[in-house]
């Protein structure tokens, strides 16, 4: 949430106050819609109760009209009665620090019939009466009768917990209570400073942005305006400015707002620039808001301070005068905080808030040719301020709709990790509307392991089929609410303070030409995110992320991509806690032929329509079609199977169903049963052996003994009483449109489906496909591939031109040569 603060000062409502100019100032501030209206003193020129009351009503009404919170501090003119050694009055406290001054306001209304505010009437400092019952006497300024209707002075609030997105405002009275004021100099009373520190120490809720408001300038004003009396500086200073700055720095205030000198000035103060926990303060002065400034085009000034959602501070100064009103076109950006400073402050705030800290976090993502994601997370130098807690480190990975978490590959790296690291898997989360789900696991660290030098550990895990590898897949899987359907990414959300985040992404050959880019995403509730029970930033699914454009541009230069190796790396120093850092890319498109794509869609539909109401048993299909399938099945079994005793085999034809984004079996033959495959059996796009072959347009041999775990057969629901056999060798052949039959890798949009052979035996001809192939085996695989295409296109032709005796469903063998 962006926060805007309007900073006014030195209004000096009184003789030289320009009411028309004030209206223009208000109009300009209203346009900026500030959340906070801060006035750093000298609201009035002389501290008469009626003018202070007018000032309060004016500013209160102004702030309420903008739905802004009003914060004021007294200037010397608000409390000093006049003269070199004037004593302090308490009208300011009685009027501004009391919520209810309605009684005095009612008397003023009754007497003058004009609402209190910065009006011509109240500028003349009228003397209110207290009415007949109070003695029919006119009150004098500061007299006891009107004052009796003002509340007593309460204890002054020092710290305002604004309730606005973790913003804290401390108000300092620099008019040294109880002491004589030497002309216009200032001093913050020691007791006030002690009380302020006590209040700040008592605050447990961390505040992301801390603002101090004081009337007098905590730093010297470096340039005096023309016409100023040379040598007047000693009569204006804050006597204990060093002490005040020291305390504000100790409590890591970000902004100090002041006025007093009627001069706009900005300074950045860094008392420990080489200390990574050091802190920078912006010291901002506003000039006078609406005083007559003849012949001085910049004699007036107010500031607009914007704190962006990421915490970056920007100060704009509106300068006007000499009869001109403030103009948005004539405003100066006097400071835009460097994002390195913003990050440094965010890091300090995060370390105040989190007990955990990690020196280096490395996320290594590898994407395989089959769209699998393999992750290696390395944490080095993990420490905590509270060694009795936070031993449970949670990790989470998002699993795509057709993807799956590979349990077999979930393991810690024992050679790197500190002793005693244990890992526990949590159940999968419920799927989202996009069909994704999360898998979470916990790394348990041994007691007291986070003390001293800290803990190291590394874990590896993988999600198979987690990415769209082509634009065609993006379109196939596009959901109604998926607004970034055409992009893929890997990302890391920062759970606790980290000094250095290293991200490595290894892309496969087929994605090597993509152009990865970086995005920094902030949660909408940043920086007011909650902490979870493990001391990490709580990632709430109902809190959306938005792109932080400024931070993205700032960090973009850290990303490098090696085109020849497909390796993308970037390093983020002090990543913002709660943020997600993503590397995105657009999956490549393949040139499409609309004619062929339409033909393929029609051919798939022809099969799917024919399948409707049938099972995958050949006997349920027209004789001619069943025969084509049997011809393929018989020759394939003969050529590929081991022909060993006890070997069970399965032959299937699958067709791609775009509605379900998966492959449906439409003809199947299994040696151990005559039961058909379950009607709802579906091989999701890119999963199983058939899914990989279809998506990649390549023949895929799979051998259980040599599997990588990233590709596994899809289990099917057996018929009642049916024994389930585990397949040890599987071969999947994509079936493509004839126009692409001579293509190295036909695109999936040109593929009808997949033909599969599976065997329960080890050592079939499929297993030999993983070795260098001899001539005989090459010819065998080419024959099987050709027959698969021939059979399926003969089936499609039969479906397009059915003969009369075909659709009787009698099944069994026919000679297939009508």
């Amino acid at each position: 949430m962006t926060i805007r603060i309007a900073h006014l000062s030195d209004l000096h409502f009184g003789e030289k106050f320009n009411i028309a100019l004030w209206r223009a100032v208000k109009d300009e501030i209203k346009r900026s819609k500030p959340e906070l209206l801060i006035v750093s003193g000298d609201m009035v020129d002389h501290p008469s109760p009626i003018q202070l009351l007018a000032a309060k009503c004016e500013l209160r009404s102004f702030a309420e009209g903008m739905n802004a919170k009003l914060i004021v501090v007294p200037g010397n003119h608000d409390v000093k009665s006049g003269g070199w050694w004037g004593r302090r009055k308490d009208w300011f406290e009685r009027i501004f620090y009391n919520d209810d001054t309605s009684e005095a306001e009612a008397i003023a209304m009754r007497d003058f019939g004009e609402p209190l505010g910065f009006t011509e009437f109240y500028r003349s400092d009228p003397k209110p009466t207290i009415g007949l019952l109070d003695g029919l006497k006119r009150d004098l300024v500061g007299g006891s009768s009107f004052a009796a209707h003002l509340p007593n002075a309460p204890k002054k609030p020092l710290v305002n917990q604004t309730g606005i997105n973790k913003v804290l405002v401390a108000t300092l009275d620099s008019n040294s209570v109880g002491k004589r004021i030497s002309f216009a100099t200032g001093r913050v009373d020691d007791r006030e400073l002690e009380a302020l520190q006590a209040e700040l120490r008592a605050i447990t809720d961390p505040y992301f942005l801390r603002i101090a408001v004081i009337h007098h300038h905590v730093l010297p004003i470096a340039f005096a305006k023309a016409g100023r009396i040379l040598g007047s500086e000693p009569l204006m200073v804050l006597h204990n400015a060093g002490t005040v700055l020291s305390i504000l720095s100790e409590h890591r205030f970000d902004i100090v707002l002041h006025g007093h000198h009627h001069v706009a000035q900005f300074a950045r103060l860094d008392l420990s620039p080489s200390d990574e926990t050091g802190h920078t303060m912006a010291v901002v002065s506003a000039g006078c808001g609406a005083l007559e400034t003849e012949n001085d085009a910049e004699g007036n000034c107010f500031n607009l301070i914007t704190v962006a959602a990421n915490g970056q501070i920007e100060v704009e100064s509106f300068r006007y005068g000499g009869g001109a009103t403030p103009n948005r076109q004539k405003r100066y950006t006097i400071y835009r905080e460097p994002l390195t400073t913003t990050k440094r402050r965010a890091s300090i705030r995060a370390r105040e808030r989190h007990s955990l800290h990690c020196r280096t976090r490395t996320q290594h993502y590898r994407i395989t040719e089959t769209g699998d994601l393999v992750i290696e997370s390395t944490l080095e130098g993990l420490t905590t301020n509270d060694p009795t807690q936070f031993h449970h480190r949670t990790h989470s990975v998002k699993v795509a709709r057709d993807g799956w978490f590979v349990d077999a590959l979930f393991k810690p790296d024992r050679t790197f990790s500190s002793p005693g690291v244990k890992m526990t898997m949590s159940p999968a989360s419920a799927p989202t509307s996009r069909g994704e789900h999360s898998r979470n696991f916990i790394v348990d660290l041994p007691d007291d392991s986070l003390r001293n030098g800290g803990m190291n550990y590394r874990v590896r895990y993988a999600c198979a089929n987690n990415f769209n590898m082509t634009r065609w897949e993006c379109i196939e899987r596009k959901g109604p609410e998926n607004d970034v359907w055409d992009k893929e990414y890997v990302g890391f959300r920062v759970p606790h303070p980290i000094d250095v985040l290293d991200i490595h992404l290894q892309l496969p050959d087929s994605l090597r030409d993509v152009r990865p880019y970086l995005q920094c995403l902030a949660p909408d509730n940043y920086p007011a995110y909650e902490l979870d029970a493990n001391g990490d930033a709580k990632f709430q699914s109902d809190v959306k992320l938005h792109v932080d454009t400024g931070m993205t541009l700032h960090e973009a230069s850290s990303l490098s991509y090696q085109l020849d190796t497909g390796t993308c790396t970037f390093r983020i120093e002090k990543p913002l806690v709660g943020y997600q850092y993503r590397v995105l890319w657009e999956p490549p498109s393949t040139p499409e032929s609309l004619t062929i794509r339409t033909e393929v869609i029609d051919q798939r539909h022809a099969i799917l329509n024919a399948l409707s109401g049938r099972t995958s048993c050949a006997s349920r299909w027209p004789a001619r079609i069943a025969r084509y399938f049997e011809l393929f099945a018989e020759e394939t079994e003969r050529l590929l199977s081991r022909r060993a005793d006890g070997e069970n085999r399965s032959i299937e034809f699958f067709v791609y169903d775009s509605q379900e984004t998966g492959l449906r079996p439409f003809l199947a033959r299994r040696s151990w049963t005559t039961e058909p495959l379950a009607g709802d059996f579906l091989v999701p796009l890119g999963r199983g052996i058939a899914g990989v072959a279809f998506r990649q347009g390549r023949i895929v041999p799979w051998v259980k003994q040599r599997r990588s775990h990233l590709i596994e057969p899809i289990p099917y629901a057996p018929a009642p009483g049916e024994h389930v056999f585990e397949m040890h060798n599987i071969l999947a052949i994509p079936i493509c449109h004839p126009a692409y039959a001579r293509t190295d890798r036909p695109p999936p949009w040109a593929c009808i489906g997949v033909a599969c052979f599976a065997s329960t035996a080890d050592g079939t001809r499929v297993a030999r496909l993983l070795e260098p192939m001899d001539k005989e085996l090459t010819e065998q695989i080419l024959i099987v591939r050709g027959l698969a295409h021939a059979a399926i296109y003969a089936i499609i032709k039969s479906l397009e031109f059915p003969e009369e005796d075909d659709d009787k469903g009698t099944g069994g063998a026919s000679n297939g040569e009508e």
Binding site: R460, E634, E635, I689, W702, D744, Y793
Partner: protein, 61 residues
């Protein structure tokens, strides 16, 4: 950064380059692998269709 090694990805097969695989299966090859006449006919029909589809257009006139 060391490479993550989790074993082979899916082994994918490219038995021949583009265009080679249909022509590689001649009648002699089908015979050598004892493909039934019925299956060989199915295969040849398919190969014929591909041949027609991929042969360059004949010059007209």
């Amino acid at each position: 950064m060391e490479q993550i090694d989790l074993g082979d990805d899916a082994v994918v097969l490219e038995p021949h380059g583009p265009g080679e695989w249909v022509e590689a299966v001649t009648d002699k090859v089908l015979e050598a692998h004892q493909i039934s006449s019925e299956a060989a006919l199915l295969y040849r029909e398919w190969a014929k269709m591909l041949e027609a589809m991929h042969s360059p257009p004949k010059p007209s006139g």
